[in-house]
Amino acid sequence: MTDRPSILVPIRVLEGESVPEGVPGLLANAHVVLLGYHVVPEQTAPGQAQMQFEERATARLDEYEAIFEEAGAIVERRLVFTHDGQKTIDRTIHEHDCMAVLVPNATGAVDDVFVAVRGTVGIDRLARVVAGVFGAMDTSITLYHVVETEETDEDIETLLDGVADRLGELGVDESKIETRVERDLRPLEAIVDASEAFDAVVMGETDPSLVTYVFGMPADQVADRFLGPVLVVQHELANERDE
């Protein structure tokens, strides 16, 4: 067994979001950071919502915690009242040093997982998440890469073999690993299309750019369109803070 990767599972605990079917099984080998959060409008003090809703939210989180623990995960939990859900999620990732965030969607048994490999950056964390979560399961792993124009075949081979080797080092059965390369496609569309046949998706976080500012982060777009769970691997912490 490798180290348990810490995976953040954010849930809007008072707005009907719950832990979807299959997710506890998916994260059975992980260190789950269960974040229940409730977003209040700016005219409400977060403490006001806490006074009224803490009990109800805590009861729900108790349930979810029990489900994850039953499945075998180690669970840490937080309940946060906030004006800004994204800030809360980012902070929790930071404080608990989460390797990945789960966008929870219902899932059945996970037989095959789709891993989008983008470039060399963050490969190690990607491998650790995949190995940690799926290594001990009987899951086939497909490493997927969309070729960018300046890449040579050799580059791609080195990249994907590198990931496969790293997964092997981390205890994954290498016979379960496949690779798939595609060309002449827009990466995002390609990922969405290709992932449809799989039970779960693992992909890296992308730096915000003007495009993502307008259309949302690719990971969010994939999560919106892919109906199963998506694990978004986080960058190494940069450790600088705004304001």
Partner: protein, 476 residues
């Protein structure tokens, strides 16, 4: 500030059997932590804090007072605004220290109740809530004056004065808007404040150059203290309402990120910024017309000043800015008032029901109505000066007591009291701050003082009746 423990015990219960809500375990840069795994996120940054402070202050003073102040004190009204700013600064510094030691919602009320006990806290807390109502009503009447001036500018003759009607309309609309849950009130506030500062800076730069004769029309120099010295102080008491905004920053202290740094910067920074704007504005306005004519223009004197400098476009720009500014002041005050209700009901000084959150919109509808309703009644009186002074009175009591609370806490120095910002010149500076706050009250109209005292007496009786057993004082 890493993780600062909170060690204030509360106890007792009110008539309805409610106890003060549990105090948090600790505060960090990003959160207030309860029971280890429940957190309240801090989401307002320095810019947001400054926008609350400046946005509340800049509307009232700059757009409503120049005419009134000039007719009272002449050109020396600039000194009145300077005095107001100085007192605000003397209080903002101690408030900053208290806020970094106790960055919790409720601001001045929280500091005083934990530092000096429930009775003082109740008077200040209920007084703050009522004071904010008076302030909002004042802003809304100002808004009514500006909106009426818009009609006048458009050449629409109305057979009656629409000032109060418009004030009531906007008051009701703002309350409804905050209950209905407009999503981005804070962002809107930031934008409004940004626009205001740009318009004012442009206008004032032109005005100052003009006043010094750059454009060939040097203004008639006027005897500075044309009304004598005493009116300077009474005017300072009147216009002090313009400086109430920095305390509003403290009412959201529980939601400010990195409170140890951002609270002092937001409070002191906003006081300094608006003081400069006020003093320059009054200088420009009085040198454009002279105090006598300016006084005749009343609440919308600034529009005439702009027209004098820049013609119709100037008048329109200032009208628009005045509407925005009075609107943002009123909005910010209504929101602060509802935060004050929350802090009071959290501590069992008001029924818990008062801070109940609406399931549909997630907004504190009871608290907002409790603020909005009485505001409308106050707007209906249409008494600009009286409303402003009562609001100032109730706030000045709080300011003075905050300075006293700081001295009390520093002398006893309880273990939990570890502010990350410490006021310079202790004990002289907070002492002077307290004296100045209480002293300014003496220069108000007797009617305002009387209303203020009645309000305080009622709040004290309410406390004795409703929450006489509640103990909020910190372990000191």
């Amino acid at each position: 500030m890493d993780k600062q423990p909170v060690d204030v015990e509360t106890a007792g219960q009110n008539v309805a059997g409610e106890e003060p809500a549990a105090e948090p375990e600790a505060v960090t840069d990003d959160t207030t932590v309860h029971d280890d795994d429940v957190e309240l996120e801090r989401t307002i940054g320095l810019v947001g804090g400054l926008a609350i402070g400046i946005g509340t202050m800049i509307g009232a003073g700059i757009f409503v007072f120049p005419g009134l102040a000039a007719s009272n004190a002449g050109l020396a009204a600039t000194v009145s605004f300077g005095i107001g700013g100085l007192i605000a600064l003397l209080v903002a510094l101690p408030t900053s220290e208290l806020a970094t030691a106790m960055p919790r919602s409720g601001g001045g009320y929280y500091f005083i109740s934990r530092g000096m006990g429930t009775a003082y806290g109740a008077i200040v807390g209920l007084g703050l809530w009522l004071g904010l109502m008076f302030a909002s009503a004042f802003y809304l009447v100002g808004l009514g004056h500006y909106a009426s001036a818009v009609f006048a500018e458009l050449g629409v003759g109305l057979p009656f004065s629409p000032v109060i009607g418009i004030g009531l309309l906007f008051g009701a609309a703002l309350t409804a808007l905050s209950i209905g849950g407009t999503e981005n009130t804070a962002k809107l506030q930031n934008i409004v404040v940004g626009i205001l500062l740009v318009v004012l800076t442009g206008f004032l730069s032109y005005g100052v150059l003009d006043a010094f004769g750059v454009f060939g029309r040097a203004s008639a120099p006027e005897h500075f203290f044309s009304r004598g010295y005493f009116p300077v102080l009474t005017t300072a008491a009147l216009v002090f309402t313009s400086y109430l905004g920095f305390a509003q920053v403290a009412t959201v202290a529980g939601e400010i990120k990195r409170p140890g740094r951002n609270l002092p910067l937001a409070m002191v920074g906003s006081v300094l910024v608006v003081t400069v704007f006020y003093v320059v504005t009054i200088f420009v306005a009085t040198s454009a017309f002279g105090a006598d004519r300016l006084g005749q223009f009343g609440e919308t004197a600034m529009v005439e000043v702009a027209r004098e400098f820049l013609g119709l476009p100037g008048a329109v720009a200032i009208l628009g800015a005045g509407l925005l500014a009075t609107f943002s002041s009123a909005n910010a005050s209504i929101l602060s008032a509802s935060r004050a209700v929350y802090a009071l009901s959290r501590d069992a000084l008001l029924p818990r029901k008062a801070s109940e959150v609406n399931l549909r919109y997630g907004t504190p509808h009871v608290a907002l109505l409790a603020a909005g309703g009485p505001i409308l009644a106050l707007v209906a009186t249409g008494q600009v000066e009286l409303l402003a002074e009562v609001a100032s009175f109730l706030h000045l009591i709080m300011y003075g007591l905050m300075c006293v609370a700081l001295i009390v806490l520093r002398r006893r120095n309880p273990e939990w009291y570890s502010p990350s910002y410490r006021v310079p010149g202790y004990p002289v500076l907070p002492g002077v701050g307290a004296l100045a706050s209480f002293g300014l009250i003496a220069f108000m109209q007797p009617a305002s003082i009387a209303i203020g005292i009645v309000v305080m007496a009622v709040t004290y009786l309410w406390y004795r009746y409703y929450a006489g057993d509640v103990k909020l004082k910190g372990d000191i």
